[in-house]
């Protein structure tokens, strides 16, 4: 097991290996994302029963919750990739961390926008400065900060270092987002899904949500792979294997 992990680590560190293996993964990730997205949306928008209190506005959950979960786990992945770069100087990790930032920011923005739109008919307001909403807005600004540091530093390497450090420091915000609905009084409803408890949701409401969450992860993997391959092409352009791709 350990040997296998070490081998996987060394392979992941190789841009050429990553570029070639993901060539085969892309069509499958795209297919799963498309089928999952269509199925999850049809089930969620047309077949799930309306909420007895919120009516049909609750259907926003099928984009809001997956986007919010992903925005948080993407930030954690970005911090881990940044740490791998800082400790072992693996350039592939730096490129992955860099590509996650704009994607994670996009999903964070989706969570905030759909949350505001959902809030209007449910709470009667687009926005309140309560703990959950504010900590989520902070997450968006942390993503923007990481993106800005990549651009602002004089060399690419110091940009990678500075943004990795900000990502690691920003990890503090993740448990704050998670527990904000328990620690403070808030308009935001508590977690819909908990790993340790049986879901309180109707099964016909729950299944589309689970489909959408899984689909969001596969789509995220697809986006990270597409952007990382661009980084590889750009940085490895002097290598013979990239020249072959450029000439074809």
């Amino acid at each position: 097991m350990w040997q296998w992990l070490v081998r996987l680590y060394h392979r992941l560190g190789s841009p050429k290996w990553f570029y070639e293996i993901t060539e085969k993964w892309i069509p499958w990730l795209a297919l799963v994302s498309l089928v999952g997205g269509v199925a999850g949306l049809i089930l969620g928008l047309a077949y799930a029963p309306a909420d007895y209190q919120q009516g049909n506005s609750f259907r926003i959950i099928y984009i809001h919750v997956p986007a919010a979960i992903l925005a948080q786990s993407a930030f954690m992945m970005m911090a881990v990739a940044g740490a791998v770069f800082l400790i072992w100087r693996m350039k592939m990790a730096a490129w992955v961390a860099k590509t996650i930032a704009p994607i994670g920011a996009s999903f964070c923005l989706i969570a905030l926008l759909t949350g505001a739109i959902w809030g209007k008919p449910t709470w009667g307001t687009w926005w309140v400065w309560d703990a959950r909403l504010t900590s989520m807005l902070l997450l968006l600004f942390l993503y923007f900060g990481v993106m800005a540091l990549h651009q602002a530093m004089e060399t690419e390497d110091s940009g990678h270092k500075a943004s990795a450090i900000l990502a690691l420091v920003g990890l503090v915000n993740i448990p704050i987002i998670k527990y904000s609905v328990d620690w403070w009084n808030t308009l935001h409803q508590p977690a819909t899904l908990k790993l340790t408890e049986k879901p309180s949701m109707d099964i016909d409401m729950l299944i589309p949500l689970l489909i959408m969450i899984v689909t969001t992860y596969t789509f995220f993997a697809l986006l990270v792979i597409l952007r990382t391959r661009n980084e590889i092409l750009l940085h490895e352009r002097k290598r013979s294997w990239v020249k072959k791709i450029l000439e074809s």
Partner: protein
């Protein structure tokens, strides 16, 4: 199926504006995230292939100039 007609599905029981606005904005952001790396890839390949051709041409010219003249 929760709705009796397509019109009812669009109306979402008075919440149509909010539901479709949320999904519409999300779709825009998602499409941008998918298109941006695909377009960037085409740009990178075009630019780098051009650079490669230029370098090849230059080096072949240098070789010709270095060739001993009769």
């Amino acid at each position: 199926m929760q709705f009796d007609s397509f019109a009812e599905f669009i109306a979402m029981g008075r919440h149509g504006f909010y539901v479709w606005l949320a999904y519409g904005l999300s779709a825009l952001i998602i499409m941008y995230n998918l298109l941006a790396p695909l377009l960037r890839r085409r740009q990178i390949i075009r630019e780098q292939a051009q650079r490669l051709r230029r370098e090849r041409n230059r080096s072949s010219q240098v070789e010709n100039n270095d060739a001993p003249s009769a």
